[in-house]
Symmetry: C2
Subunit: 506 residues, 2 copies
């Protein structure tokens, strides 16, 4: 952001009011970046405490006039930050700074998140913690809709090979020695900048631990919390059973916590007795909802009240199709949230490369646990990813995946409408999967799934991901589409309809 | 081995005797490989049970005549296999098949170890589990003799880059997906063949788990044994404190077990109550001894008696300078020994790439633990290493390191003789470090080490690696040399002598 380009008309706010001029540098950004820059400046002002909790914000009309920008830009910023939990709004009554945000403790200098924001490529959470799709394709398998796998043919082989060559040509010898268990410093710096920019996290490189994906982040945290005496971890219901399995390997028992359409229900959470939860607030897996601002705030309040911790699995945080991504929960309280993500959906799961942003209070224990598990991640892939992120290759790759996955999602929605009319699709428009509710007339569910399997179509039902069983006869499916070409998507849904008695093939 | 090239004179042994003709294919190998091939054929015959425990072998003269080879070749084979525990010999009384060897259970088809043996490049165990040398060089540090670090400038960058390119050009897309937690099949096959050939292990690819080096192999085994109820692990004294730290992270307490000049002392081992030990029998770290055949056998007898397990850390098994390497302990009983090694000393610790050969009874638990820790090692480096091993690049790299390290060791011995006369060097000629006992007149030890540090020479004393304290006034050092050029070695010893009052500089 270049303050020198501040537009005319950006007069400071009235005396005695908070210093709205702190937002001026943002609106000095080039027009195409202005909205994003304003949001980031506001977020940073709240986070740093310059805008204290409870502060009433000017109306959108006033602030737009003060800053000399369009009212739409301000409205959009208020809405976005309200959705993320930074602000609270009541219809007709105004907008206040929320109470949920906590600045990072320790010396963490924070973010870098306001620098270099770039409004292109609107993205958000993606899909598929679920880990590997089980097993090889069976005999007769024609189309596999199971979620959690990206399109491996999108891996940028030649760009990756070029980065490998460049890394091997320049890496100092000592970088080939025993690694820093936290990760290569250049990668930690590059990731911190990228995550602050893209996901709105508080990303201090000193708090970032490079690890083997979200799976290892889960195990690391589990061991650390178990050593502190915790014996249970809460997981979303419906959710990914894999979360429970990973924590079980550290000696922690799973407690399923019910979701509704807004997020974890506060009552059962409070009654559960857990002091640690794993959540997917940006794009809940598998239901596809985005948590409401109230539930985000309530979760953090709960964490502070019980001295607990939240693992935020941002498993598909880079893919959002129809609206701006919601910032990560971690940005609201970096001392209570471990934020974890990976390149598994954006590059390849086989790289086993991810990251965790860790609260100060847990950092030393997590790093020591990482050290005893493997001494640290391999250095060459780390150096390649650092170069990729720094030189723009990672952003290009995300845009490429985004385009491909959006096209496939559209193909899926069109095929469902054509071949299985009446099917409802829910969940926000993001990620690598959708939830489809197929009308009862194609069911019942057991027969539906059996016929699909006979026709060579692999599917997962929503019931595999939690404890709930539907009372109605609808078939609820978690359909992964990202790894399939648009024509394979259409073929698969056509086969499915033929097998279960839809318009074609019945 | 090509039986078609069997030499004339290779008559079968007498009727009623074990079928010595099973050794004939070995002696049909080209002359330069014949000795090695004979040893491998004998080892395989013992291991497979074709030569049963207690079978008396023909005299060296008889067998040489039967096979039509020189008596020296047979004598050498008997001596080597006796050192490894496959055979037992009593001076003047003959040679028998030992009782220590157990064939692998399960369906493990075994080895491949007799194929493609190649007598060039005599190597053996290397040095330095100790993990990373602590911290960055301090101010004024001029020569760092701390052990455990290979010469990182020997990493074959251009060959590695070429293999990376080739891998990215040919790897199928699906290989970029979630990995097999056991490792890439092509790497497991390549490593199994290489380890059988070089280290005499029973290397079934189905039992090989690719992991992040010996450190992770230790943690994996620790968690598995802890889950089975074990609470203590025995480590060699002196030994690497890192072994204890890794097992401690899994909830297992360290019990130091005293060594003598032959290996672990059986009495204290039996009295300790442990049911798991970590050992370095091929080149004990740090003392440098090679375990005697009796102690190898005794350890395996103990393991069977207590239903225990042995982790064999073959940390420097590829570097042996003046004699044939002793085969790994695991070859004697693959159901009681977890064999672990890595590329940390031969390529680079930063690759975090190693392997464990796991007894059938522990395999599923180790693999599941590996899965929850990280889902499996990254695939690209695995594919590159597979290509490296398969196409001979790994053997070339080992020869290159071997030459460099031998030259440095010789420079060290010469410098010690010149500058610190009277210094005794012990331990077998292998690995990346030596044990030097500097006469008391240069001491006492505390002053010696302090003066060395003041002169910019970093050293580790043997006392850092265990509980023993010497009664005499000698200074006992563990000197790592592999990462230093011959001139740096000479400079360092010269500086040291100057600081402590040796012939130069006093």
């Amino acid at each position: 952001m270049t303050p020198s380009r501040t537009t005319s008309g950006g007069a400071p706010g009235p005396a005695g009011q908070p210093a709205w001029e702190l937002l001026l540098p943002a609106v000095g950004a080039p027009a195409r970046r202005r909205g994003r820059a304003l949001q980031e400046a506001l977020r940073e002002a709240v986070r740093s405490g310059r805008l204290a909790a409870g502060t009433r914000l000017p109306s959108t009309r006033e602030l737009a006039a003060d800053l000399g920008v369009s009212r739409g830009l301000v409205t959009e910023a208020y809405e976005q930050l309200t959705a993320e939990g930074y602000l609270r709004g009541e219809r007709g009554a105004g907008t206040w700074v929320g109470g949920a945000v906590r600045a990072p403790g320790g010396g963490g200098s924070g973010t870098g998140g306001t620098a270099g924001a770039d409004g292109r490529g609107v993205r958000g959470p993606v899909a598929g913690v679920g880990g590997p799709v089980a097993g090889p394709p069976g005999p007769g398998l024609r189309v596999d809709f199971r979620p959690g796998v990206p399109d491996l043919s999108l891996f940028p082989r030649s760009a990756w090979a070029a980065a490998q060559r460049s890394v091997l040509a320049r890496l100092p010898h000592r970088a080939l020695g025993y690694p820093d268990p936290r990760g290569l410093p250049e990668l930690r710096g590059a990731l911190a900048g990228m995550l602050a920019r893209r996901r709105g996290v508080v990303a201090d490189p000193e708090r970032l631990v490079v690890c083997s994906g979200v799976a290892q982040a889960s195990t690391l945290l589990g061991f650390v919390l178990r050593a502190r005496g915790l014996r249970t971890v809460g997981v979303e219901d419906p959710g990914s059973p894999e979360h429970g399995r990973l924590f079980a390997s550290t000696g922690m028992e799973t407690v399923w916590l019910p979701l509704d359409g807004e997020g974890l229900r506060p009552g059962p959470l409070a009654a559960s007795g857990v002091r640690a939860v794993v959540v997917t607030p940006s794009h809940q897996f598998p239901s596809g909802i985005g948590w409401s601002a109230e539930r985000r705030t309530a979760l953090l309040d709960w964490a502070r009240a019980v001295d607990g911790y939240v693992l935020e699995d941002d498993y598909d945080g880079d893919f959002r199709y129809d609206r701006a991504p919601v910032g990560a929960l971690q940005g609201l309280d970096p001392e209570r949230v471990v934020y974890a993500g990976s390149v598994s959906k954006s590059l390849a799961p086989g790289l086993r490369l991810g990251w965790a942003l860790v609260p100060e209070a847990l950092l030393d224990e997590v790093v020591e646990r990482k050290r005893t598990m493997d001494l640290g991640n391999p250095v060459l892939d780390q150096a390649v990813l650092a170069e990729f992120v720094t030189r723009g290759g990672y952003d290009r790759q995300l845009r490429r995946c985004q385009r491909a996955y959006r096209e496939r999602r559209d193909a899926l929605l069109a095929a469902l409408a054509e071949h299985l009319p009446g099917t409802g699709v829910s969940g926000i428009a993001a990620g690598l999967h959708v939830i489809a509710r197929v009308p009862a007339r194609f069911g019942p569910p057991e027969r539906f799934l059996a016929r699909a399997a006979e026709a060579g179509v692999a599917l997962r039902s929503l019931e595999e991901y939690g404890t709930a069983r539907p009372a109605d006869g609808d078939v609820r499916l978690v359909i992964g589409y990202a790894h399939l070409s648009p024509s394979a998507v259409a073929e698969g849904i056509g086969l499915l309809a033929g097998a279960v008695g839809g318009p074609v093939g019945s």
